[in-house]
């Protein structure tokens, strides 16, 4: 599903990611820990095809990036820090716009608005909604096309416990064995992150300092990343 071999990405002179190598299979969840500026978001953006790797091999869904990025688009759902929604448009208008871009029917929009409990506020401009509501709309946007690979950058930020439960079926590990949901999640929550991880990657200053199966990682090791 995802193969990284010596991945390097720079911003000017600074290396945002240095020599990252890992392998993630379909249906597995990789949780990436690390302090701010560690390279978590950069990794997610490379996997989503929005950023190019500067060296090293990146294979996503069996396709090599960046050369075959066209084949990956539309099969990945990215939920980042920004909701990627227009503030002046309503939640329904935003989701319908994204549905058209992904060739998804409008019934899916209504299904997702109901799933994230936004039907009642769906016709209000996004700028009038709370941050939690916007995050729920963003979850709906990222999962609108039922992507095979979910890239989630602190997906539960701004969500209260009830909202977390609401979005869980959309961004959780999935229950359909015929369609395994593969996830890469950026997190600052050691307990929550370890609970849902199959594989753990710890980054510090773009350097992978921890890479292991989740069962072999302790919370103390995660906490060490932030010191």
């Amino acid at each position: 599903m995802i193969e990284l071999e010596g991945l390097v990405r720079r911003y000017g002179e600074r290396e945002a990611l240095s020599d990252v190598s890992l392998s993630l299979h379909a249906g597995q969840t990789l949780v990436v820990f690390g302090p701010n500026g560690a390279g978590k978001t950069t990794l997610l953006r490379i996997l989503s095809t929005l950023l190019r790797p500067h060296s090293g091999g990146v294979t996503v869904l069996g396709y090599s990036l960046p050369d075959e990025a066209w084949a990956v688009r539309g099969r990945v759902g990215l939920l980042g820090h920004e909701p990627l929604l227009y503030r002046e448009l309503t939640a329904r208008e935003n989701l319908r716009f994204h549905a058209r871009l992904h060739g998804v029917g409008e019934e899916r929009v209504e299904e997702l608005l109901a799933a994230v409990a936004l039907t009642d506020r769906a016709d209000e401009p996004l700028k009038t909604l709370s941050r939690g509501m916007v995050q729920r709309a963003a979850v709906a946007r990222a999962t609108l096309h039922d992507p095979e690979l979910l890239l989630l950058d602190e997906p539960r930020a701004n969500l209260d416990p009830a909202a977390r439960e609401l979005v869980e079926p959309l961004i959780g590990p999935g229950t359909d064995p015929a369609r395994p949901r593969t996830r890469v999640i950026s997190s600052h929550d050691p307990a929550g992150g370890l609970a849902e991880a199959d594989l753990v990657l710890g980054l510090r200053g773009g350097v992978p300092v921890l890479l292991s199966e989740a069962a072999d990682v302790s919370r103390a090791q995660i906490a060490e990343l932030y010191r």
């Binding site: 392998s23 299979h25 249906g27 869904l61 871009l101 300092v209 072999d216």
Partner: protein, 256 residues
């Protein structure tokens, strides 16, 4: 390194079987994508009123200023054409500068790049949106120009002038979209946009002014002449060249 070496990729022992690779996602066709983008573009403009009202107000205000600054009630010929096209050009720049701002600031670029669609659709949708903004601008600005400054009656010149307006608008839309996509990715976008666009748009202004000048003379006999074919052809050729350049390079402007 805390737990495992990163020299070798980790292969978890209890991994599920590799799922078969699904075929690539199928997005909508080119024109459906253009329609979706254009609809969104016009909806955002209707809600924010950030571009067209500003462009129109600028143009009308400029004509009022010319009316008093020139200390004459009417202008015609080259003078009229120059005032009309320079004003329309600067008014258009306001729209060009705003064209991609919402996409850049609110993540619209990223959302579009994640979709399985032809990227040229964004060029077409943005150029069509800018063309629409220019059309609305001219619906307001040209009558205002006729009222405030123009010597010959507008009804005499309008049919021929329409053709010049359409050809110039196509050029402004193509060049404006290209430049706006480039400028919006920089911090100095408000400065860079006009700096890049104005030199490229000077030929459009020259062509449009020369083509419309004979239409704006007081003694223009109705039904005789019309806009010079040479300048109309120049405008059309310039539109074609920049349309093709925009088509060729637009994808690269969206790339990381």
């Amino acid at each position: 390194m805390s737990a495992a070496s990163t020299d070798e990729p980790v292969q978890p022992a209890a991994s599920p079987e590799q799922a078969p690779i699904a075929p690539q996602a199928r997005g909508p066709g080119m024109w459906a994508t253009v329609a979706a983008l254009l609809r969104k573009e016009l909806l955002v403009e209707l809600r924010t009123l950030e571009s067209v009202p500003g462009m129109s107000l600028f143009a009308v205000t400029t004509f009022v200023v010319f009316h008093f600054a020139l200390n004459q009630n009417t202008v015609s010929g080259d003078e009229a054409a120059g005032i009309l096209w320079v004003t329309l050009l600067f008014a258009a720049m306001l729209g060009v500068n705003r064209l991609f701002v919402a996409d850049q600031d609110q993540g619209g670029f990223d959302a579009f790049l994640l979709a399985p669609v032809d990227r040229t659709a964004m060029l077409l949708a943005k150029a069509l949106a800018l063309f629409a903004y220019l059309a609305v601008l001219e619906l307001i600005a040209v009558p205002a120009f006729g009222l405030l400054l123009l010597a010959p009656p507008l009804s005499q010149t309008l049919p021929d002038l329409l053709l010049v307006l359409v050809l110039a608008d196509i050029g402004i839309a193509a060049i404006g979209t290209l430049v706006a996509a480039l400028a919006v990715q920089t911090r100095a976008r408000d400065l860079l946009g006009p700096l890049l666009a104005l030199p490229l748009l000077v030929p459009v202004v020259i062509g449009a002014a020369r083509a419309s000048s004979p239409l704006l003379v007081l003694a223009h006999p109705a039904g005789v002449g019309g806009p010079p074919i040479r300048w109309l052809a120049t405008l059309a050729l310039y539109d074609l060249v920049f349309g093709l350049i925009a088509y060729a390079v637009f994808d690269f402007l969206l790339e990381d």
